[in-house]
């Protein structure tokens, strides 16, 4: 019946191989608890971002709706404001995700002896549990890797980013909930026996290995002398998080803190320092917009029932609002936009009670050239068809002749080079 020798093979399979006096259920519990807080924020904001695109409306979905998690009710609740809503959501998603990376690595370090447990599984229960942990780790590494690649526009992973990141997040979330449920008794016991924070008080002279743990494998039988306290380990991971955060967070907050983001490429400067010199996510050239399409004689906004030239749009009552463009990648930029309220255009189109606004761009190919806005979104006071930014006409790259800007919406749903607005029930 026995397939494997009872005696573990040499090397990492022998308990004596692992020498750190710090490993033990308490250290893993505290690192895991902190990591749980960080990954929960990252996961919740990630799924909220998915819903912020109103994927069940019009052509909004990037993930095929028939393949999405089936919900018994529509979830297009994302409101048209406050203006910082998506900026906060995505700022948390990306920056807390970065902050989580050191804690993930430290947590994995703290449990590495368990990878080499011998025999690999003593029961079906342990076998399936180990399988779930394998998928938890691989989906976590996959999520962080694809997240990093996407925010830096490196598509080496050859997946559709949104699709891969989304389904991997479902795998990760399911595996994480299971892991926490299964390990909760061990975490509770570690905190009860050692105190939640008490081991943080030990100085190096009092940094001893934890008492033998019943599940075995984490506490080193023959530990080395400690070189760092447990408090030091948390500060160490926290220091790593701080370094990663500083290198990026300025791009989220913007303004005077922007130069602090020393490893996040600057998008400013391409516009030559004028009123349109703020980050561009898709240039007119890459979207295939030609000057001929937007020329004064050629362009007219199609409202279905009527057409309006840019001059006619400028003659309508204008509204000015300071609103951010907040990108799914975590950067944002607040500018002063001037244009016609979308609610006013709904009235002009003869559909003041419309439930949805379907926005189509002049862009002929590619994703996100159209978006469906909910009534809550397009009737927000500051929801505009913007014609100007910072007092000047929009530049081509920022959507000239006219673009949508709605408070609290994902950046890419603020459609540029708007050709047609369809207000419908």
């Amino acid at each position: 019946m026995r397939l494997l020798p009872a005696q573990p093979p040499p090397g990492p399979f022998r308990p004596g191989f692992w020498r750190s006096p710090l490993r033990g259920p308490w250290l893993t519990s505290i690192l895991g608890s902190l990591l749980l807080i960080l990954t929960t924020i990252t996961a919740v904001t990630g799924f909220l971002s998915h819903l912020a695109y109103n994927p069940d409306l019009g052509m909004n979905a990037i993930i095929d709706p028939s393949r999405d998690v089936p919900l018994p009710f529509a979830l297009d609740f994302w409101p048209g404001g406050p203006s910082w809503l998506y900026r906060l959501n995505q700022g948390l998603h990306v920056n807390v995700g970065l902050v989580a990376i050191p804690f993930l690595l430290f947590k994995l370090w703290s449990v590495i002896p368990r990878l080499f447990a011998w025999p690999p599984a003593v029961s079906p229960a342990q076998a399936i549990e180990r399988l779930s942990i394998a998928l938890l780790v691989s989906s976590a590494v996959f999520l962080f890797a694809t997240g990093i690649f996407n925010t830096s526009y490196d598509y080496a992973f050859q997946f559709n980013f949104v699709v891969a990141h989304y389904y991997a997040a479902v795998v990760f979330s399911a595996s994480l909930v299971l892991h926490v449920a299964i390990k909760a008794p061990i975490i509770r016991r570690a905190y009860r026996e050692r105190g939640v924070l008490k081991p943080l008080r030990d100085d190096l002279a009092h940094t001893r290995r934890e008492p033998e743990d019943p599940h075995g494998g984490l506490v080193a039988p023959e530990p080395d002398e400690p070189t760092i306290t447990r408090r030091g380990v948390l500060l160490f991971a926290g220091g790593g998080s701080l370094a990663l955060l500083i290198a990026n967070v300025g791009a989220t907050i913007g303004g005077p803190l922007r130069p602090l983001a020393f490893l996040q490429p600057r998008r400013e400067g391409a516009g030559g320092g004028g009123p349109g010199d703020f980050p561009v996510n898709k240039t007119a050239q890459s979207a295939g917009i030609t000057p001929g399409q937007v020329a004064a004689g050629a362009y007219a906004l199609d409202l279905g029932t009527r057409q309006l030239s840019r001059q006619e749009l400028l003659a309508l009552p204008q509204r000015t609002a300071k609103l951010p463009i907040a990108c799914v990648e975590g950067w944002s930029s607040v500018q002063e936009w001037t244009g016609v309220p979308l609610a006013e255009l709904a009235r002009l189109a003869g559909a003041p009670d419309a439930e949805q606004c379907f926005v189509e761009s002049l862009q002929e190919r590619g994703i996100l050239r159209e978006a469906t806005l909910t009534r809550g979104q397009f009737t927000a006071d500051d929801a505009l068809l913007a014609l100007k930014v910072n007092g000047e006409d929009l530049t081509m790259d920022h959507g000239f002749p006219a673009r949508v800007i709605v408070p609290g919406l994902p950046g890419v749903h603020n459609t540029k080079w708007v050709a047609k607005l369809t207000f419908r029930s």
Partner: protein
């Protein structure tokens, strides 16, 4: 009940929770299989674990063990900046190596305005400088007060 526990190695709730997981995670994995072949998906999932558990972790653990002996009490003054610098490299790898510059420049209208590899080098230099200053100050204080060498604190 006790017979189930003996055979399975856990209580029925353990099994039920894992069955929920099998079906929920299985659903999401099947969605991924609709867009990529099985081998590609396996390469990613297995590759992620192998890269971390059998390459990255053994590499830094071995490096730490080698460095710990000669450095003794000063080990954290080297360990912390090395790890922080490594974390920056890991989390900003596509920017530091320029892997994302081509697409970045297409969507944003301009290439990188800075040399990010150079910035990472400078950031690392600052980290080591901070560690050196801290070590120097603590060594000087220890010498004056006749205490042990620095590194005896966390």
């Amino acid at each position: 009940m006790s017979r189930f526990r003996r055979r399975y190695g856990g209580n029925p709730l353990h099994l039920l929770l894992h069955l929920v997981w099998v079906f929920a995670a299985g659903w999401a994995l099947l969605r991924l299989l609709e867009v990529r072949p099985l081998l590609y998906l396996l390469a990613w999932l297995v590759g992620a674990v192998v890269l971390h558990d059998f390459v990255l972790l053994p590499f830094y653990a071995a490096l730490d063990r080698v460095g710990r002996i000669p450095l003794r009490g000063a080990v954290n003054y080297v360990r912390v900046p090395v790890v922080l610098s490594g974390l920056l490299l890991l989390a900003y790898f596509p920017i530091i190596t320029g892997g994302g510059e081509q697409v970045f420049s297409r969507v944003s209208g301009a290439g990188y305005s800075e040399d990010y590899f150079g910035r990472w080098l400078l950031a690392s230099a600052v980290l080591f400088l901070a560690a050196a200053v801290l070590y120097g100050v603590r060594a000087a204080t220890a010498q004056r007060t006749g205490a042990r060498s620095p590194g005896s604190t966390s």
